[in-house]
């Protein structure tokens, strides 16, 4: 039973208050995109063992979507941040680097 803090309303709550939404920072590809791009966007996933960035919705709370940086093998939560961003914020990356030196996720490290 995870505990997450919603960065939008500030509430810290149990997993049952939230709804997981899969991998974060996917770039949408629409009409005109290549088959590779579209397949990658819709289906291909990092699914890492370790540091991961993912989407959550505070479904039974403020209703807002946000992002979480989390370890999939220890379930440690490095931080949560607003969904309105294209990549992980520097301060979150700094926290991860502190705890998981040498981490990599897509082009981020």
């Amino acid at each position: 039973m995870l505990i997450l803090t919603c960065p939008m309303c500030g509430v810290t709550a149990e997993e049952t208050e939230f709804h997981g939404g899969g991998e974060a920072h996917l770039k949408r590809f629409g009409p005109g995109s290549s088959e590779d791009e579209f397949e990658g966007y819709l289906f291909m996933r990092e699914n890492p063992k370790g540091v991961h960035f993912e989407r959550w919705r505070h479904a039974n709370g403020c209703g807002k979507w946000f992002h979480a940086a989390r370890c999939t093998t220890t379930l440690e939560v490095f931080g949560t941040y607003a969904a309105q961003t294209y990549e992980p914020p520097a301060e979150i990356k700094a926290v991860i680097s502190d705890k998981r030196p040498g981490w990599r996720w897509r082009e981020h490290s």
Binding site: M1, I3, F29, P31, L42, L75
Partner: protein, 1004 residues
């Protein structure tokens, strides 16, 4: 013979006798007894039969680790199998029966005698029962199933209730022995909010039985004083009869409180499941004594030394008149002393350790005149349903009998193992302690929480500190550490000083005697309940089941209802010995919650029957209920399938409703339809992305039918969109779709187009909505009076606000039936009144309510698709001939790119058509049209399927819609649908619009 002693029994209330029944026999005990102590007091040592060999089994332990003493308890709605006698508090009127035997406990025809059991070693069933093939299901398996299992299956509905509690604390201490009490007190002194839970009804754990002093006073006084102190602290919650059942991720703990198991007539819930969130957790769960592996160690009368001591001290019960002690450590000497002081005979202390330095315990034994046999072991126990004696041998040898000692009980101790379950549930790692021969929590590898820090500390015996003084020091430190971890400053206090006599080191003994012969090993039990012996684990190792998980699964060691509390370490050591590998390298199996089994009732909690999943009700729900509604679950709602009248079948009712709606007037409660308000300067642009058609061009006052697809291209919802004003749209969704589509909209708004100025609100429950349908629809509205609903004032696919019959209403002129139709939304609070007004005013026009099945038929006659019928998550709008609803002008909408993929544009995709049976019958639901031949996997080729099928009373024949290969190009062709009823249905491919193709009826 086991019997009640004249004196002793610190937990008994002797002036409160209690009567109970076991296997129909009426017996007596006292308040404070467990069922186990009361049975033993009545000389009922034999309590059950083992799982595999049906061997007679007696009580072995005195607590949660008991593997044998499992009984059926209670009657009818309070019947429950597999109740553990050692953790069942006795109450007046308790009724229990023993399990797993036929016809009786004393005489079980299922017993596998010693010759037969040889043919049933570990895993024998993998090697046998293979021929003839059909025999497994019909002969072997039924026999095995009947022989296996333990208690009887409950039959009646549970009459008890259960509840869930949430608790939040800074420090949760699990276990109310001396370590738990001290840790709780130490933590609480920091000001931290502390919760202390204890699985039994008593505080202090083993300490009052085992003795010793704390700061010079008897340990029992320390317990009493500390409990009183804790009870007086406002920041401390104490719960006994509450077991720590499981530790889960991020510091979530399950507590299992047995509120009325000991008083079943008391009011209130039986069990309470605590869901505890703690800043830090202390596991002070104690330790469990290990049996020794010698031949015949499963014969009733062989018991853990600590349990023998418990029964004497706590419940004044003697296990036997002559008890042989067999041990590899000093602790078991306490049992000899306790028996001696109670006036019972201890013919010998068989100590596997060679003679060496004399410890205080050995000196006391000598002083009491007890015979200590150093370097000896038990070769075998004699007896069948009760111990009659033991054969003594040299521990170093192979089991040559040196002497036989007559006795009726054996008290054994193979050392102690910390209870590490709760530490391990969430990933805490273990370290092997060579000196004490046990696994204990590895302090540096605690389970980690959300912040990556360890959130569990073990304390006392649970962390490996078995001696009182060590346990108190350890618990004190744990209390301080936990307070600190929870963000408090621990007060500077000193740990109280515990004193017990010094002990000589224990000697790991995994086999007795160490070189036991094969026949002896085949009689030395590791797992009593599942009948796993030393020879079985050795066989597993020999056959290559070398991993501890393999050996466990192959032999079933530790998989019984005690989950190996007594057998795991002994089994592991036996495996390590067989593999010639150090024990820590063999590793342990995974500890899984719960610590001991917890009731399903408690897990379910209050949410049963009516509150299992509360039903969503429309404002008119009760009216429907009293007017014959045949309910159908739809999402979390119930909708009337039809309104059935007296003397009518449901089918009759549906037919009547269709005919009446087509000819007169039908009313449908459409309140469950989703209603989403989409508002803002970018609302039109947003809806253009969500719907396949163009919504931004819709004029205020107008309605448009729209299709919604997932980004993967598939149809997910449909409905009518009304433009309220320049900035505002009202989107109707399907009944099941409201929450889903609302979420879908929010997701795209928040995570992709977050700079677009749009808000979405779900107003589904703010309105009651009624579809007024049929040729008389306008008449009834005009009769009620108010706004102008004429063709000129309110054209097809238009909406208007106004008043009808005095009700403030929003009227949409839309039709899902092909009839003249108005969908009228009023405030939810006015729904029933409005419905009543329509029914009253409509009486003269033939008004009747109709249900969902009528709705389906009406729409099918018109060829309208239904999400969930024509779609199933694999259908794109193009499959359904809905290209007209896909804007060609838009560059983008959700699903557009996906619909350009090769398989989506494949001309071989099945397309929507109408289907008419040649003979007028109704096609079976879900039938497939068979094509020629078979595919590469030998499956019949198929060329289409039925998506909706009904008998149309309007047309007097069966009508259907379906998806067919090249369907629209094959009009008039007849294809065949093999039914599962053996018939083949021939149907002609036709236009999906069966009724009023020109739409004259709705355009009036």
């Amino acid at each position: 013979m086991s019997t009640r002693l004249a004196t002793g029994g610190r937990l008994l209330t002797k002036d409160k006798p209690v009567t109970f029944r076991f296997n129909g026999k009426q017996l007596r005990g006292y308040e404070g007894d467990t069922l186990a102590s009361a049975l033993l007091a009545n000389d009922q040592m034999l309590v059950g039969r083992s799982f595999k060999y049906h061997r007679p089994r007696g009580i072995v332990a005195s607590g949660a680790e008991e593997p044998n003493g499992l009984v059926n308890m209670g009657d009818e709605g309070k019947f429950e199998p597999n109740q553990r006698v050692t953790t069942t508090e006795l109450f007046d009127g308790l009724s229990a029966t023993s399990q797993n035997h036929w016809p009786s406990l004393e005489f079980d025809v299922g017993v596998i005698n010693k010759y037969m059991s040889r043919f049933m070693p570990a895993g024998f069933y993998y090697k046998t029962f293979m021929y003839p093939r059909a025999f497994w299901k019909h002969v072997y398996e039924p026999f095995i199933r009947q022989a296996a299992g333990l208690g009887k299956a409950p039959k009646a509905r549970d009459v008890d209730t259960y509840e869930h509690y949430h608790a939040f604390c800074d420090v949760l201490v699990i276990g109310g022995g001396v370590a738990g009490l001290l840790a709780a007190k130490t933590a609480a002194q920091s000001g931290a909010k502390v919760m202390l839970i204890e699985q039994t009804a008593h505080w202090g754990g083993r300490a009052p039985v085992d003795g010793g002093t704390v700061d010079g006073d008897p340990v029992e006084d320390f317990v009493e004083k500390t409990v009183a102190e804790l009870a007086s602290m406002e920041n401390v919650t104490l719960r006994n009869r509450t077991m720590g059942a499981g530790v889960y991720d991020h510091g979530y703990v399950l507590g299992y409180e047995r509120l009325t198991d000991h008083a079943p007539e008391a009011a209130g819930p039986r069990h309470r499941l605590w869901r505890v969130r703690a800043g830090h957790i202390i596991t002070a769960t104690g330790a469990i004594e290990r049996p020794l592996s010698f031949a015949g160690n499963d014969i009733p009368g062989v018991m853990l030394a600590s349990a023998v001591r418990d029964y004497v001290a706590n419940w004044g019960v003697s296990i036997g008149d002559r008890t042989v002690i067999v041990t590899n450590n000093d602790d078991a000497y306490l049992t000899a002393f306790a028996l001696k002081f109670a006036g019972l005979e201890v013919p010998a202390i068989v100590d596997a350790r060679p003679a060496g330095d004399e410890s205080p315990a050995m000196a006391q034994a000598k002083a009491l005149g007890l015979r200590v046999l150093h370097g000896h072991g038990i070769a075998k126990v004699k007896g069948n349903k009760r111990v009659t004696g033991v054969a003594i041998c040299a521990q170093a040898g192979e089991g040559a009998v040196l002497e036989e000692i007559t006795c009726d009980a054996v008290a054994m101790s193979g050392g102690w193992s910390p209870v590490v379950h709760l530490w391990s549930h969430c990933g805490g790692k273990l370290a092997w302690d060579d000196a004490q021969a046990f696994f204990k929590p590895d302090r540096d590898k605690a389970p980690t929480g959300a912040d990556g820090a360890g959130f569990v500390t073990a304390a006392g015996a649970a962390s490996g500190a078995l001696i009182l003084s060590d346990a108190l020091g350890d618990a004190h430190a744990a209390g301080q550490a936990a307070a600190k971890a929870a963000g408090f400053t621990a007060r500077k206090t000193k740990a109280p000083k515990g004193e017990t006599p010094a002990e000589a080191p224990m000697l790991p003994v995994w086999m007795m005697p160490q070189g036991a012969s094969a026949p002896l090993r085949a009689k030395a039990w590791l797992d009593y309940q599942n009948d796993v012996k030393v020879s079985d684990v050795q066989l597993a190792a020999r056959e290559g089941f070398e991993s501890v998980e393999h050996a466990k699964r192959y032999t079933t060691l530790g998989m019984a209802t005690d989950q190996g509390k007594l057998s795991n370490i002994n089994g592991l050591a036996t495996l390590a010995g067989a593999l010639d590998t150090p024990i820590p390298q063999v590793g342990t199996t995974t500890f899984r919650p719960p610590y001991t089994p917890i009731s399903m009732g408690a897990i379910g909690g209050e949410a049963r029957a009516e509150v299992f999943q509360p039903i969503r009700r429309t404002p008119m729900h009760d009216w429907h209920d009293t007017n014959g509604a045949d309910w159908e679950p739809v999402g979390h709602w119930r909708r009337p399938y039809a309104f059935v009248r007296d003397g009518e079948s449901t089918h009759d009712a549906v037919m009547r409703e269709v005919v009446n709606t087509r000819q007169n007037l039908g009313l449908l409660d459409a309140s469950t339809l989703g209603k989403l308000v989409v508002k803002g300067p970018d609302a039109g642009k947003f809806l253009d992305m969500l719907y396949t058609n163009m919504m931004s061009t819709l004029k205020p006052g107008k309605c448009r039918y729209g299709l919604m697809c997932s980004e993967n291209g598939f149809l997910i919802d449909d409905g009518v969109v009304a433009r309220i004003d320049e900035d505002t749209f009202l989107c109707h969704t399907t009944t099941g779709g409201a929450e889903r589509i609302h979420g879908h909209m929010e997701e795209w708004l928040q995570t992709e187009w977050w700079d677009w100025k749009v808000y979405v609100a779900n107003v589904t429950e703010q309105y009651a909505q009624v579809a007024v349908v049929g040729p008389n629809a306008r008449k009834v509205l005009e009769k009620l009076g108010g706004m102008d609903v004429s063709k000129e004032a309110l054209g097809f696919m238009e909406w208007a606000d106004g008043e009808i019959g005095g009700f403030k209403a929003r009227v949409y002129r839309i039709s899902f039936s092909g009839e003249l139709s108005y969908e009228i939304a009023v405030d939810a609070g006015q729904g029933q009144a409005f419905w009543d007004a329509l029914m009253a005013a409509g009486a003269e026009f033939g008004a009747m309510p109709y249900g969902t099945e009528c709705l389906h038929i009406l729409r099918a006659e018109k060829g309208f698709i239904m999400i969930g019928d024509e779609t199933d998550g694999t259908i794109i709008p193009q499959d359904l001939g809905l290209n007209w609803a896909i804007s060609k002008k838009k560059e983008d909408y959700l699903g557009k790119r996906a619909q350009a993929r090769s398989h989506m544009t494949d001309p071989e995709r099945w397309k929507l058509v109408g289907l008419e049976t040649v003979d007028g019958s109704t096609l079976p639901d879900g039938a497939y049209a068979a094509g020629e031949g078979v595919n590469a996997n030998g499956q019949r080729n198929v060329i289409g399927r039925v998506t909706s099928t009904y008998h149309s009373p309007t047309l007097g024949r069966g009508i259907a819609m379906g998806l067919v290969l090249h369907g629209p190009d094959r009009m008039g062709e007849v294809i065949s649908f093999p039914g599962t009823d053996g018939k083949t249905y021939e149907a002609r491919i036709v236009d999906p619009v069966f009724y009023d193709k020109e739409g004259e009826k709705q355009n009036v």
